[in-house]
């Protein structure tokens, strides 16, 4: 069974540009989560999808971030326009049920210059 995959693994963009990160959860997992780790700090929750619906987006930093999960399968996280402080590693995780173990992807390292 394939694990959680994320694309790209690395992205380097200039301030003001747009970047879209993609996450493919484990097949059959209705719950999908996005987290972010800014260098040297803790991994922080961004939002939670149940199928295609946003269950909790309390961790989204501002309206420059837009997450979607059309069709309840893969998810995208768009940052527009990117700022320097958006640099970090973005993790995606999925789980079969909300209270079950979350399986994490390898992360996308975003660098904004």
């Amino acid at each position: 069974e394939a694990g959680v995959t994320q694309f790209p693994s690395h992205s380097v963009i200039e301030k003001g540009q747009t970047v879209t990160l993609r996450c493919d959860p484990i097949s059959g997992h209705d719950n999908l989560y996005w987290y972010r780790r800014v260098m040297g700090k803790e991994i922080k929750f961004l939002l939670h999808f149940v199928k295609e619906s946003k269950q909790d987006e309390s961790g989204m930093p501002n309206n420059r971030f837009l997450a979607e999960r059309t069709g309840g399968t893969y998810s995208t996280l768009k940052v527009q326009p990117a700022e320097l402080e958006d640099s970090g590693v973005y993790f995606c995780a999925s789980s079969q049920e909300e209270l079950y173990e979350q399986y994490f992807g390898p992360g996308t390292r975003l660098t904004v210059t």
Binding site: Y35, E42, I43, F45, D56, G59, Q102
Partner: protein, 114 residues
């Protein structure tokens, strides 16, 4: 609100020596406790978890952690480390019986020296 503190950002240890990675948490409600490990160029993997029952939990590769409610701690230990244990270790909590998100510590980078 929940928070997790991992005081040691880097821990170097010689091969076959014991190691303890410290984790303290604060929460006003009951929580579940987890340790995740991230090997180089890989995603986070669950190492072990405490949900209920015995306060001492073990992983398949020799790590163990003990939930200490009075000290609000969940320290990770291994009596003899291997080179392959070199990785970053994250302590995390989640509200028990409800709640979806994990609250992570800042991570501890364990380096095993040959």
């Amino acid at each position: 609100a929940q928070s997790v503190t991992q005081l040691d950002s880097q821990v170097p240890v010689f091969e076959e020596a014991p190691v303890e990675l410290r984790c303290n948490y604060s929460s006003s409600v009951s929580v579940y406790l987890f340790w995740y490990v991230q090997y180089p160029n890989q995603g986070l993997q669950l190492l072990l978890k405490y949900l209920s029952g015995s306060t001492l939990v073990e992983s398949i590769n020799g790590f163990e952690a003990e939930f200490n409610k009075s000290q609000t701690s969940f320290h990770l230990r291994k009596p003899s480390v291997h080179i392959s244990d070199t990785a970053e270790y994250f302590c995390a909590v989640r509200r028990a019986n409800t709640g979806n998100q994990f609250y992570f510590g800042t991570g501890t980078s364990l380096t095993v020296i040959p």
